[in-house]
């Protein structure tokens, strides 16, 4: 056996892997965010924007935008924190008020006050002294109801948190695990905001006694258990009440084929918790200038106008257009529950833990 | 210690070749030479190390000590595929996914022969082994004898310096074996091939070889022409391995050996003192019951040309006698026995032929 022959065998094997790797890097347009002409946005998998809008930004700014979608909202934040010493991009979008403290405490962002920050509606502003994050959108987590069910049963849909524990709504509500699902956590925070530190646990005891069902994910609750959604109808979901978003009814309209005249679902206006999503310039960003331009873009009118129908959220900029389908099928909650981010930061983990042993065990 | 001389004319020579498996020496300092055009047959029971000997020469089994030289060149460090020796495996080991031609052409192909050369060689060899026109047949469809011929052709195809055969006829039935052994002998004579074969079958070895080497426990017990070995087994082991059972300890004085069977005449000039004595069955003469050593006939075995008669003396080891077909006594008969000095051999003491 000659050593050289052996080596050549190995070389074939290695060469194969090597070639693949080479293919990988060659097809990879401008690897990472090293090039100053590429700006990389890290986000969760709900990120969406119209092509012409992003193209206009690229043309005007001269930056090419690369997007990395990194799992659901919670995962994306956690991944960004894990990689903060050597981040995958320049800007992170998609940390909401329920997880904001985790991002800030871990030093995920560096300060930058985006252009147009003064036009942000006051209720959405956060971290005003350091400007580490920029609000981008908001949405309301609310109980949705199946119109057909309540019509058929001659029942009035619930309107408030208090309604949900009434006997006529027994065994009708499905919600999500607050430990694993963003709307689930939002709904829990809504009850905490409504009933306070001393009261929310009592409320949940009543809710449990009234037959609330808890599933792990929003997908499951909305597409399987809920009787009002397209997926739920197929799956013969039997819960006419579900914790979802205020923007879910318009989605049912937009994605139905053919499109109906009215939304099949409605929103219980008094059960909403306001979620605000923020973006920020990542610490150790390789292209901070491009990142700043991108943050400016996220607050700009073209993006804020375009955003609602892409991500089914509401704009935070004064004067941004809210599409007709929203105002028609999914108006924003009039008086949503809100919680101070600092309060969320202090209590979130403990609340989730108590909630878990109270409701799940 | 006398050893096989590694003459310059030796194509193959082993010097002190030793292979150990887990501390046990399977080859124990073996010295052996094979001259050009010589056909040497290593004969021994299973486990005597004869297959290991072939594998060591082929380069399939590294030596723990000693060395192998081919054409005077030390082969240590030369891998199997560069030694240019042929090895025909016991169960042929034909490549199942190739046809007959593919098997035979394998060696020439590995040595870079062109397609036409390969084809010509295949035809030539198939002719030689008596299977003309079998080139495209599948090896799975061949009979045992045909497989053996293809294996031989495959081993010969690259024109090896030395052809080694491991139990070449072991798996074939008796009549085929006897026919093939004659063919092989003729073939090797015609081609002038240098051959080192191993077998446990003495008939095969004697029919095939110019020289027979008997192995025992990794050592060479005797080496010589078939006639030498047959006539003068070196020791009790070789004698018994060759099928002789009338072997006893005796005290030799002059031309008489004192054995458990009584006084046995030995040839003139036989070594003296305490010795092992072999009486070939032909040298056991059966007499009427009142003459010589008194025995009872316990069994008779028909051997084609003669009858082997098993005799039980009153208080001595059993004897085997070869009787003519008509003269063989009945089982249970009482007979007398006497010995013929011409068929008595006084054996050596320690495996060293004298």
């Amino acid at each position: 056996m000659s050593i050289t022959k052996k080596v050549s065998v190995l070389a074939v094997g290695l060469g194969m892997v090597g070639t693949l790797a080479a293919c990988g890097s060659s097809s990879d347009d401008g690897s990472g965010s090293g090039g100053s002409k590429t700006v990389t946005l890290v986000s969760h998998d709900s990120w969406a924007v119209s092509k012409d809008v992003i193209a206009a930004f690229e043309k005007n700014s001269g930056y090419k935008v690369k997007v990395l979608e990194d799992g659901d909202a919670g995962q994306a934040v956690n991944k960004a924190i894990l990689t903060k010493d050597n981040p995958q991009g320049d800007v992170f979008f998609g940390v909401d008020n329920t997880l904001l403290s985790r991002a800030l405490d871990n030093g995920l962002f560096q300060p930058y006050e985006a252009k147009g920050s003064d036009l942000v509606l006051p209720e959405y502003r956060a971290d005003q002294d350091k400007h580490r994050v920029t609000p981008v959108d908001s949405g309301d987590i609310c109980v949705n109801y199946d119109k057909a069910y309540f019509d058929q049963h001659g029942l009035t849909p619930p309107k408030s948190f208090d309604d949900l524990v009434k006997p006529e709504y027994k065994d009708l509500l499905v919600t999500e695990n607050a430990g694993s699902s963003s709307p689930g956590l939002g709904f829990l925070l809504g009850t905490a905001a409504k009933y306070g530190d001393g009261g929310w646990e009592g409320y949940w005891k009543k809710l449990k006694a009234n037959g609330v069902k808890v599933v792990d994910s929003w997908e499951q609750a909305y597409n399987e258990e809920f009787s009002g959604s397209a997926g739920g109808k197929k799956a013969k979901g039997d819960r006419p009440l579900v914790v979802s978003y205020a923007s879910s009814p318009p989605v049912e309209v937009v994605y139905a084929d053919p499109q109906p005249d009215t939304a099949p679902t409605g929103v219980a206006d008094g059960t909403c918790f306001r979620q605000v999503e923020y973006a920020g310039l990542l610490s150790n960003a390789k292209n901070p200038e491009g990142g700043k331009a991108l943050l400016d873009f996220l607050l700009s009118k073209p993006f804020q106008d375009d955003m609602p129908l892409n991500m089914f959220v509401y704009p935070v900029r004064e004067g941004a257009q809210v599409p007709e389908v929203f105002s028609k099928f999914g108006p924003q909650a009039k008086d949503p529950q809100t919680l101070d981010p600092a309060k969320i930061a202090d209590n979130r983990d403990q609340w989730v833990k108590s909630w878990t042993s109270l409701v799940l065990k | 210690m006398p050893s096989e001389p590694s003459m310059p004319s030796s194509l193959l020579s082993l010097e002190g070749a030793t292979v150990r498996f887990g501390g046990r020496a399977v080859l124990d300092a073996v010295d052996l030479g094979v001259a050009e055009h010589e056909v040497v047959c290593v004969l021994g029971p299973s486990g005597s190390g004869k297959s290991t000997l072939l594998r060591a020469v082929a380069g399939l089994q590294p030596l723990d000590a000693g060395r192998v030289t081919l054409d005077g060149r030390d082969q240590s460090g030369v891998p199997a595929h560069r030694r240019e020796v042929g090895l025909m495996f016991q169960d042929h080991q034909l490549f199942p996914q190739r046809d007959v031609a593919g098997n035979i052409a394998f060696g020439p192909r590995m040595r870079g022969a062109s397609r036409t050369e390969q084809q010509a060689r295949v035809e030539e060899l198939l002719e030689l082994v008596g299977l003309p026109g079998a080139a495209r047949r599948s090896v799975a469809a061949l009979s045992g004898g045909e497989q053996q011929r293809v294996a031989l052709a495959r081993a010969l195809a690259p024109r090896p310096r030395l052809l080694m055969l491991d139990e070449p006829l072991g798996q074939l039935d008796r009549s085929l074996r006897e026919r093939l052994v004659v063919e092989l002998r003729e073939l090797f004579g015609r081609l002038g091939t240098t051959v080192l074969a191993v077998t446990h079958d003495q008939g095969e070895a004697f029919a095939l070889a110019d020289r027979v080497v008997v192995m025992r426990d990794g050592r060479i017990a005797q080496s010589g022409t078939p006639l030498e070995v047959w006539q003068r087994p070196a020791d009790a082991f070789v004698a018994r391995f060759l099928g002789f059972d009338n072997v006893v300890e005796a005290s030799v004085a002059g031309q008489v050996a004192d054995t458990p069977w009584g006084k046995v005449p030995v040839p003139e000039g036989a070594p003296q003192g305490t010795r092992t004595v072999l009486v070939r069955p032909a040298g056991v003469r059966v007499l009427p019951a009142d003459e010589g050593l008194r025995c009872t006939v316990t069994a008779r075995t028909f051997r084609g040309t003669h009858v082997a008669v098993h005799l039980q003396p009153e208080d001595a080891p059993r004897l085997e006698a070869a009787c003519a077909l008509r003269a063989a006594p009945e089982v249970g008969a009482a007979v007398g026995v006497e010995f013929d000095a011409a068929d008595v051999v006084v054996l050596g003491r320690s495996g060293v032929p004298e």
Binding site: L20, S31, K79, Q88, S180, S244, V251 | A58, G66, S76
Partner: protein, 557 residues
């Protein structure tokens, strides 16, 4: 003189042998070190190491928590129950596939294997449609299992049916029926003959299959997540929650270590049974042992197995297809080709192309790595170290995908290994899962090649490389194709790690399905079902092709 010769010869040989072995092993070892051990170690270190000090005390703290112990207990008992149930349901199937000959056998064998290579997200959804609300059981008897542990157990049977049928059935088909006949001639009753002769021969295969099923169910993730709801949680799901949602990395690290220890123990036992299985059994050509079912008893058994397969395996898949056809005509399928601007940057149909490309690359990597490893493991002088490596190769099957995914993220972030944004990351992660299948498929075949055939070639002048090409390759070519096919199907369906590292503009099929399921609306749901159906068909076609190539000895999976 002789001493000198000995000195000169011995070391040279030894060095050459080890060099060759190390050479063969080097690539797989390097692959696993860089793309498995290092990332997993990095994420564990992130959880347990603070300023260079290992906080091993965390292990005790975490174990002291009652909910962690509850998770451990549930993980173990559901795995045991799933394994027992799978054996109970699948052993008759193994018998039918081994001993009966019937039309469509190859296709049916492929069909029962489809669940094994489908992504959990698809299976969970399909299964929910069967035992969940409005499922068949619900419609017929008003029976719903979706909130009970039975849903998990049945889904585990659904998943692992093929493991038992292929592992046990593969050996069973090759057991010489005459051995049982001999026992009966000696006066044993049919049952007794089976117990005394066949069962002992099958026992190692049954044990190996049981251990594989235990391994897969012990580390079950997608099924438990989708069907288990918030109340049932395995270690793997808990690791995912702690890492991905609660962001408690130290708890996740401790749980990872616990799972790792358990998996290593299971694999050690598995390696032991596999070695025993390779012991001398009287094996015959599988084609000669199968015959048409005869008599009422055999027909009943045959019908029973077909019924089980129809209800447990085919029905959930059928529900999937039925739901994908919900819209008028092939509306959902047509929608796949449109860019909707919502869930994707590209039309969902492109996910098929991406998946195929990734799977081809992953298969190439898995086959090269797996074949090198299998060749190294086959060498006659393979020692204890090498055999340990055999078991080591199986480890990626038992380590949480989220751990590997996050590990990639924090470990492969610096040149020359800054692969985080490279597309090769996805095939690499998928290949990790594919390699064990390649090795396990090829090893039995390579080990069955008579070593003297290689020697015959060597003596005829073939160098080791040519020996491999001329002797081994022709004999393992089919096994290699089967292995490649399995690696291909497994990478097509891989979800756990891919979902963490796939690029948004290059979603794979399972990732696209998950993302579509994550959005409300009829079209999205329908498209998810349509994509799942396509994925299922691709897997099924791949497996049917494999069935045609299958050799009797490549039956471990």
């Amino acid at each position: 003189m002789k001493q000198a010769v000995k000195q000169a010869v011995r070391p040279a040989r030894t060095v050459r042998g080890s060099a060759a072995r190390l050479g063969l092993m080097a690539v797989p070892v390097a692959f696993f070190a860089v793309f498995f051990a290092y990332p997993v170690a990095a994420i564990v270190a992130r959880g347990l190491e603070v300023d260079g000090v290992w906080r091993l005390g965390r292990i005790g703290d975490v174990l002291a928590q009652s909910d962690v112990r509850h998770v451990l207990w549930f993980t173990t008992w559901q795995a045991l129950a799933s394994t027992a149930l799978t054996l109970l349901v699948a052993l008759p199937g193994a018998y039918v596939f081994a001993r009966f000959d019937f039309p469509g056998k190859q296709v049916l064998r492929a069909v029962v294997t489809v669940p094994f290579v489908l992504p959990t997200v698809v299976v969970g959804t399909a299964f929910l449609a069967l035992v969940g609300r409005g499922g068949l059981l619900d419609e017929l008897w008003g029976l719903r299992l979706d909130t009970t542990v039975w849903a998990i157990l049945l889904a585990h049977v659904f998943f692992n049916y093929a493991v038992v049928v292929r592992t046990v059935g593969g050996l069973w088909a090759q057991l010489d029926p005459r051995q049982e006949e001999a026992a009966r001639m000696l006066g044993a009753s049919r049952l007794r003959a089976w117990r005394q002769v066949t069962l002992p021969a099958l026992a190692p295969a049954v044990a190996a299959a049981a251990l594989m099923v235990f391994l897969f169910t012990f580390t079950s993730f997608g099924v438990v997540q989708i069907l288990g709801g918030p109340t049932f949680s395995t270690l793997e799901v808990e690791i995912y929650r702690q890492t991905s949602q609660v962001f408690d990395l130290s708890t996740a690290a401790v749980l990872t270590l616990i799972q790792f220890a358990a998996v290593v123990a299971v694999l050690a036992v598995h390696a032991w049974t596999v070695r025993r299985r390779e012991s001398a059994l009287r094996l015959v050509d599988a084609a000669t042992t199968a015959r048409r079912p005869r008599g009422a008893g055999q027909w009943t058994l045959f019908a029973g197995v077909l019924g089980t397969v129809a209800v447990l395996l085919v029905l959930p898949l059928a529900v999937l297809v039925q739901r994908s056809l919900g819209a008028s005509g092939f509306g959902y399928y047509r929608a796949l080709t449109r860019e909707d601007g919502g869930a994707f940057l590209v039309p969902p149909i492109e996910a098929i192309g991406n998946s195929l490309q990734y799977a081809v690359a992953a298969t190439a990597i898995a086959v090269v790595i797996g074949a090198l490893a299998a060749t190294a493991l086959t060498r006659r002088d393979a020692g204890r170290f090498v055999r340990g490596f055999d078991a080591l190769l199986m480890l990626p099957l038992g380590v949480s995908a989220v751990t590997v995914g996050f590990g990639f993220l924090i470990a492969l972030d610096e040149p020359p290994l800054d692969l985080r944004s490279s597309w090769i990351l996805v095939p690499l992660a998928q290949a990790l899962v594919g390699v064990p299948f390649v090795v396990r498929t090829m090893l039995p075949v390579l080990r069955a090649v008579d070593g003297r055939l290689r020697e015959a070639a060597a003596v005829l002048g073939a160098s080791p490389w040519r020996v491999w090409r001329e002797v081994d390759l022709p004999m393992v070519r089919r096994a290699l194709l089967v292995a490649a096919g399995f690696a291909f199907a497994v990478s097509l369906g891989e979800f756990g790690a891919t979902v963490f590292i796939a690029r948004p503009d290059h979603p794979t099929l399972p990732v696209a399905v998950a993302r579509l399921l994550g959005r409300p609306g009829d079209m999205n749901y329908g498209q998810a079902m349509a994509l799942s159906t396509i994925l299922m068909l691709v897997c099924a076609v791949a497996l049917v092709v494999l069935e045609r190539l299958r050799t009797d000895r490549s039956g471990e999976f």
